[in-house]
């Protein structure tokens, strides 16, 4: 297996506050890799360095062997990004947003198929400002995938979606992975990580405190807790409980 994303000894601070202390992980081609952590643990800062939105203070990052801080034009062609929150002009329509973003890429995805998969056809003419939270989220996922990326970074993928939409989005992500796309998923939903991720890194106070498959983490947690079966949430709480850092 070849590593698509390699992060080594990443360090990032904002003024006095250390956001990421020491984070290392490798994401292999074709896997869904989860980054789990409490609010303020440093997971978003970590992926922002991977996306090239922030410059690391220390350590190295390579995505397809490219340096996100320097090789931007090539990286952005191959890396699809979904950020937390809304990021389009209020009066831009759904269809116009997709048409526009599609034109940015050398080999874009099949727009009609993507709109179908995310249930966007019926709101094609709706302005971004009039969309519900879930609809905005689905559009934001579509924009992350419109460039036909080889790797997608999805931050808080299903926040704001109702249970049905969540499950549909999970299926979509599994389909995307089946087509060969590597996925880096940032989440604090343990059921989502358990369902989707091949491996997860648990980040706490800017450090990786565990890196394994969800099955291995739950098995270890069950042994530590002396119970027959533990959930990923049990494992997460056991790993991060002591110094959860909330901002």
């Amino acid at each position: 297996m070849t590593a698509v994303i390699e992060v080594q000894e990443l360090h990032k601070r904002y003024g006095e506050k250390v956001a990421v202390d020491d984070v290392s992980f490798r994401v292999e081609e074709g896997e869904i890799f989860g980054i789990l952590g409490s609010n303020g643990a440093g997971k978003t800062t970590t992926v922002e360095c991977v996306e090239g939105l922030r410059r690391a203070d220390g350590g190295t990052i390579r995505v397809f062997g490219l340096d996100p801080a320097r090789d931007r034009s090539e990286l952005t062609q191959r890396l699809g990004v979904q950020l937390q929150g809304a990021h389009l002009p209020e009066k831009l329509r759904v269809g116009e947003a997709l048409d526009l973003y599609r034109s940015f890429y050398r080999r874009p995805a099949d727009q009609a198929a993507l709109m179908g998969a995310l249930g966007l056809e019926s709101i094609r003419k709706t302005r971004f400002g009039k969309l519900s939270g879930g609809q905005q989220q689905r559009l934001s996922i579509a924009l992350a995938l419109i460039g036909n990326p080889r790797v997608a970074v999805l931050d808080e993928l299903t926040t704001g979606l109702d249970p049905r939409a969540r499950r549909e989005t999970w299926r979509l992500i599994e389909d995307v992975r089946a087509s060969g796309v590597t996925i880096l998923l940032v989440t604090h939903f343990m059921d989502e990580a358990e369902r989707l991720c091949d491996r997860v890194a648990v980040i706490d106070a800017g450090r990786v405190v565990a890196l394994d498959t969800p099955a291995a983490l739950t098995k270890r947690a069950a042994a530590d807790l002396g119970v027959e079966r533990a959930s990923l949430e049990d494992a997460f709480v056991a790993l991060t409980g002591e110094h959860a850092d909330v901002d």
């Binding site: 952005t76 809304a86 990021h87 002009p89 009066k91 831009l92 116009e96 048409d99 973003y101």
Partner: protein, 248 residues
């Protein structure tokens, strides 16, 4: 980045500019409507009330050209750019092959293009409906107008750079618009100002611009120092804007 991408980006931004209505209404229709109002008031058309034996309407035409430029630059660009930054539009674009700088480029192109359409409309109506002579030195006029537009766009970028929200950018842009229009002579033409005020006026970007436009209209080249002053505003605001503007 391909030209097709830039074309698409500019077309999309232009659609949003039209949907927003502020630019088309206040930057294009309003100045010509104002000209029509002035043109129908005898006080403005009677040479006896004017400067140097010209009807006041002649004096006001370059002022309205300045009005077009200031309106489009100061009342549409700062709120748009600040809201794009506030809402993360620019940040999202940073993760695509098209950087946020291209959006700014598209915005400037729309501002300049709309100003051109609006000024042509204004001068055409002034000539056909009210017999206001066209600029005698069209090249000098065009050069003055372009320098003025670039200087005002520079000021707009600085405003967008130093204001945290779209609301604040809107407020500061509007206040600056009225201040600059005062020095450009909208309420009191520069020729009619007391000498001290006149010196201040011709040193402001829009005051200098309107003087240069008036010179070109009357048939003489604006003094070099005036054009250099405008060019200086372009360079300084561009440098300050680039230095202060943040994508997020």
């Amino acid at each position: 980045m391909s030209t097709e991408t830039m074309r698409r980006l500019t077309a999309t931004e232009f659609t949003l500019f039209l949907r927003d209505k502020v630019g088309p209404i206040f930057g294009v229709l309003f100045p010509t409507a104002l000209l029509c109002v002035f043109g129908n008031i005898d006080f403005f058309t009677d040479p006896a009330n004017g400067v140097d034996g010209q009807p006041l309407l002649y004096t006001y035409t370059p002022i309205l050209v300045g009005f077009v430029i200031a309106m489009l630059a100061l009342n549409t660009l700062p709120p748009t750019l600040a809201s794009y930054r506030e809402q993360g539009v620019l940040r999202r674009l940073r993760t695509t092959p098209v950087g946020p700088a291209q959006v700014l480029g598209a915005q400037f192109a729309i501002c300049l293009g709309t100003a051109l359409v609006s000024v042509v409309l204004l001068l055409t109506v002034a000539r056909l409906a009210f017999d206001v002579p066209l600029p005698r030195l069209p090249v000098a006029f065009a050069l003055s107008a372009v320098l003025a537009a670039l200087a005002l766009i520079g000021v707009a970028v600085v405003v967008a750079a130093v204001t945290p929200t779209a609301k604040a950018a809107n407020a500061i842009g509007s206040v600056l618009f009225y201040v600059m229009m005062f020095f450009a002579g909208l309420w009191l033409p520069i020729e009619a100002m007391p000498p001290a005020l006149r010196h201040v006026s011709v040193a402001t970007p829009l005051g200098a611009a309107v003087q240069a436009l008036a010179d070109s209209t009357e048939g003489h080249w604006p003094p070099v120092w005036r054009l250099l002053l405008l060019a200086g505003y372009v360079v300084v605001t561009a440098l300050v804007g680039v230095r202060l503007f943040r994508w997020e």
